[in-house]
């Protein structure tokens, strides 16, 4: 049976046939088909031709026998020629089972090194100055080395480069440089180059000087450069001459610096007067003077005081150094404020302001036609004038502060803190109950007058609801006080009585056995009130329903029974719980009956009875004693709360989990932030290794 093929099937069969993949049956079928279809036959023939061509062409490209050997030989050449002992070692490190250990050790070492590096500091103030000083020093050294090589033009270039680099700074720095320029010129004029004396054009001068007399100018300029930026910097050069020049120049520049020096010393001395005298002498000998001095003598006869001494700054160290001869130094602080930069800045600004003023004055003379212009200019002049004066004041202040160092000496004699004597202060606080406050008040006053006590204050307060209270403050002499207090106590019933006594050291804190004790006047604070403190307080907690209604009921009941309600509050919580708090005050005889009524409001959940004992037992009158009941009525949570139920739970869960999620996220982010440097480190390390390999 003849087989039929679709075009693609035919292609497949033909391709399989020419590539020798057809089995016998398939081959026969194809041949039968081809015999019947001339078109297919031609395709077959073309395919065969193509197959032949492919075979012929590609076979030629097939790797020959030498291919393998070529590969190996070239490989050998490429790898062997590059692998030295070191590379082999490095490569060996990264191969084999030990590489995990090596990686761990490397990580540990890196971590250790990272840990050892100091914490990064915020670059400001001294740190920055140091940095730039180092830079300048380096530059200066470069300049020196250029000069040492006798390469004059090179040196000149270096100087020029340095000057250019300094002029790169803006604003204040430029002014700074301007100032330096003047100083540099001044220094130059001091050197033996008279031809340059009048040269104010700094750069040109330096360059010309560099080519004319390289050695001198080089040293001077370098020294100046170093010192103006970095006082005390030692030039790192083997040239001793140059170092000496640096030192001299350093001294010269040092005097122009504005340094404000202060010292603060605390000195413990044996004899105050002698030391003050000796210090005054010493200050005078050192070229200084005592600016201010104040003394005080304690009750125990010990003296203390403060001296402020002004000295030439260079004498400060010797002076402070000698202070230990006068007593023992308890604390010492020497401070130096370098206001040089601020000073120069202000100076420069002052110059500018002066110029501005001059220009403005000029302007005012010229333009007199318009009044408004004139006013404007005048206003401007006033402003400039003001700032000029302010700056001048500042400079003067700095000048005066820098001209003399200030030494502040706090002096005190030994045993200054030992108290000479003590004062015993007594305060009696007395609270009395009286049915007739006004009468008792008058009685207390007359008692005080009789015992010659001093009345500090006396007043009667009338409350809104017929309540009346009074306070009296007395100062009684120590011997009278005991009797007076007893007399006052007899005036009514004592609610409370407290005596407070305190021993106060006079002049000093240290306790000393030998100190004498004096008794001060006794203060008596008396409070009178017609309100008796309850003899007994009962706390009663009851749980019941219909709290609000019950409260109303109880209020009415209390009124009929003559029980006073001291306070009453009612609140309904978010969970539907009602809570009423009431405080009742009643005579003790009515107490058991009323307590039963209260208990009838519901289920008693707690009761505590607190008995308050009287200060004076003899005065107890049981029958009429007031008692208080602190009554709490609470309903069971009956209503469905907003905070309960399915929705609330879901919401609660969501909000809580969201909070936790946020916390977790925050930690993850923080963690990543901490990880980042490590990742960078790792990446850099990998890159390094890769590069190393690449080179190999």
């Amino acid at each position: 049976m003849p087989t039929s093929f679709t075009p693609s099937q035919l292609e497949e069969q033909i391709a399989a046939s020419v590539t020798g993949d057809l089995n016998e049956t398939e081959q026969r079928e194809l041949e039968v088909y081809l015999a019947e279809h001339p078109d297919a036959q031609s395709i077959y023939e073309e395919s065969q031709a193509m197959s032949h061509l492919l075979e012929k062409t590609l076979k030629r490209d097939a790797p020959d026998h030498g291919f393998e050997d070529r590969m190996v030989t070239r490989f050998r050449r490429q790898t062997r020629q590059k692998s030295g002992a070191w590379n082999t070692f490095i490569a060996g490190l990264f191969n084999g089972p030990q590489r995990a250990w090596i990686a761990a050790v490397a990580v540990f070492v890196v971590a250790f090194l990272v840990g050892r590096t100091p914490e990064p500091q915020v670059l400001e103030g001294p740190a920055l100055e140091k940095e730039s000083a180092k830079e300048v020093k380096d530059k200066a050294v470069n300049i020196v080395s250029a000069r040492d090589g006798h390469d004059v033009s090179g040196y000149a270039d270096a100087v020029a480069a340095y000057i250019t680099s300094t002029s790169d700074h803006a604003g204040v720095e430029v002014e700074h440089k301007e100032h330096m320029t003047q100083k540099r010129s001044a220094l130059l004029s001091g050197e033996a180059i008279p031809g340059l004396l009048n040269e104010r054009e700094e750069n040109a001068a330096l360059l010309r000087a560099a080519s004319a007399a390289p050695t001198n100018v080089a040293e001077t300029t370098k020294a100046e450069v170093v010192n103006s930026h970095f006082p005390g910097a030692e030039a790192q050069s083997s040239n001793t001459n140059s170092i000496q020049t640096v030192d001299t120049a350093a001294a010269a520049v040092e005097t122009q610096r504005k340094l404000i020096r202060n010292a603060g010393i605390t000195l413990e001395v044996v004899n105050y007067a002698t030391v003050v005298h000796d210090l005054t002498q010493l200050a005078r000998a050192e070229g200084g003077f005592v600016s201010t001095q104040n003394d005080r003598t304690q009750a125990n006869g010990r003296s203390a005081g403060q001296m402020v001494i002004k000295l030439p700054p260079d004498q400060l160290d010797t002076f402070v150094g000698r202070l230990h001869e006068f007593g023992s130094i308890k604390s010492q602080a020497i401070k130096t404020d370098d206001v040089t930069k601020a000073y120069w800045d202000t100076e420069a600004r002052l110059r500018n302001a002066n110029l501005t003023e001059a220009r403005l004055l000029e302007l005012m003379e010229k333009k007199t036609d318009k009044v408004s212009d004139l006013l404007q200019v005048e206003k401007e002049i006033a402003r400039v004038r003001e700032s000029i004066e302010q700056m001048q004041g500042e400079l003067k202040l700095w000048d005066s502060l820098a001209a003399l160092a200030t030494v502040t000496i706090d002096l005190y004699e030994k045993d200054l803190n030992q108290a000479a004597d003590y004062l015993l202060k007594e305060t009696a606080t007395l609270s009395l109950f009286s049915s007739d406050v006004e009468k008792t008040f008058q009685e207390a006053r007359s008692l005080a007058e009789k015992s010659e006590a001093q009345i500090l204050s006396a007043q009667i307060n009338r409350g809104g609801d017929d309540q009346i209270s009074a306070t009296v403050s007395l100062l009684a002499s120590p011997d009278q006080s005991t009797i007076l207090i007893e007399q006052i106590k007899a005036l009514g019933r004592v609610n409370s009585y407290v005596i407070n006594s305190e021993r106060v050291a006079q002049d000093g804190q240290d306790a000393v056995e030998t100190g004498t004790t004096r008794k001060d006047k006794v203060r008596i604070d008396l409070t009178l009130s017609d309100e008796e403190s309850p003899a007994q307080v009962t706390h009663l907690d009851v749980q019941g329903n219909g709290v609000a209604d019950r409260v109303d009921e109880l209020k009415k009941l209390a009124q009929t029974l003559g029980v006073s309600i001291r306070s009453s509050s009612f609140l309904k919580g978010a969970d539907g719980v009602e809570l009423a708090t009431m405080v009742f005050r009643l005579p003790e005889k009515d107490y058991p009956h009323f307590l039963e009524i209260l208990k009838g409001s519901g289920k008693t959940s707690g009761i505590t009875v607190e008995r308050r004992d009287r200060v004076d037992e003899s005065q107890i009158k049981l029958e009429s004693d007031p008692v208080e009941i602190d009554f709490n009525l609470k309903s069971a949570p009956s209503e469905v709360s907003f905070h309960k139920g399915f929705i609330a739970s879901i919401r609660n869960t969501l909000s809580r989990s969201f909070g936790l999620l946020m916390t977790a996220l925050e930690r993850v982010i923080t963690g990543l932030a901490y990880l980042l440097p490590w990742l960078i480190l790792g990446a850099v390390g990998l890159l390094g290794v890769k590069l190393l390999r690449r080179k190999k």
Binding site: S8, E11, E12, Q13, I14, A15, A16, V18, T19, G20, D21, I43, E45, E46, S47, A49, M50, S51, L53, L54, E55, T57, L58, K59, R60, D61, A62, P63, F67, E68, R70, M71, V72, R74, F75, R76, Q78, T79, R80, T88, A91, G92, F94, N95, G96, R99, R693, R694, K696
Partner: protein, 199 residues
């Protein structure tokens, strides 16, 4: 494109694994052995893409050197052959792409011209063998990479269908389809050269 980045799963014998392992640890003799084991295979991969023996040879060389340089990065010896093939294939593709980019116009137009000049314009004129080959290469270049690889494995290495299918990760019998389509494409593009090809 098939399996561009995944290393091919290449079956290897246990003894080969040992050789590869020591090669990865820096044993250069073992590495030479690896070169001997895989150079032909890599060559056909590279050739299948670039269709140039000299370029393919360079690619194989570079592949081995790169493998040697980066051997410390590879932990698993069984993945090494697949990795080698992947590297060779990528390098070959780089070369191929570069060539296409540099000479897209030159080559395609040149091919067109070649076809025009020698095919249509003067059909009766015999084409020199080298020119025939040149045209054939141009035609091969125009095939999809997979087809080209199949043709290369069949004619360059002379492998049978089942081996090629295994190497290329093809299902049983799929190669017939690929070769059929490749052959048809080659034939169609070379339709102008019927006479010459039959000779």
């Amino acid at each position: 494109m098939t399996s561009t980045m995944t290393p091919l799963a290449v079956e290897i014998e246990p003894s080969t694994t040992d050789i590869i392992r020591s090669a990865l640890r820096g044993d250069e003799e073992a590495f030479e052995e690896v070169i001997r084991l895989y150079n032909r295979r890599l060559f056909s991969v590279a050739y299948g893409i670039v269709q140039s023996a000299s370029e393919a040879e360079d690619i194989v060389q570079e592949t081995f050197l790169a493998a040697h340089r980066n051997r410390w990065r590879l932990f698993n010896p069984t993945k090494f052959p697949g990795w080698l093939i992947l590297v060779a294939r990528n390098k070959a593709r780089d070369v191929w792409r570069k060539r296409v980019r540099h000479a897209t116009d030159a080559i395609s137009e040149g091919a067109e011209e070649a076809l025009q000049d020698h095919g249509v314009a003067c059909p009766s004129k015999g084409i020199e063998e080298s020119e025939k080959e040149h045209i054939l290469r141009t035609l091969l270049d125009s095939l999809p990479e997979q087809w080209r690889a199949a043709v290369t494995l069949r004619y360059l290495e002379g492998l049978d269908h089942s081996t090629i299918e295994q190497r290329m990760g093809l299902s049983n019998g799929a190669l017939r389809g690929i070769l059929g389509r490749a052959m048809a494409r080659l034939r169609d593009n070379a339709v102008f050269h019927q006479a010459e090809f039959r000779n």
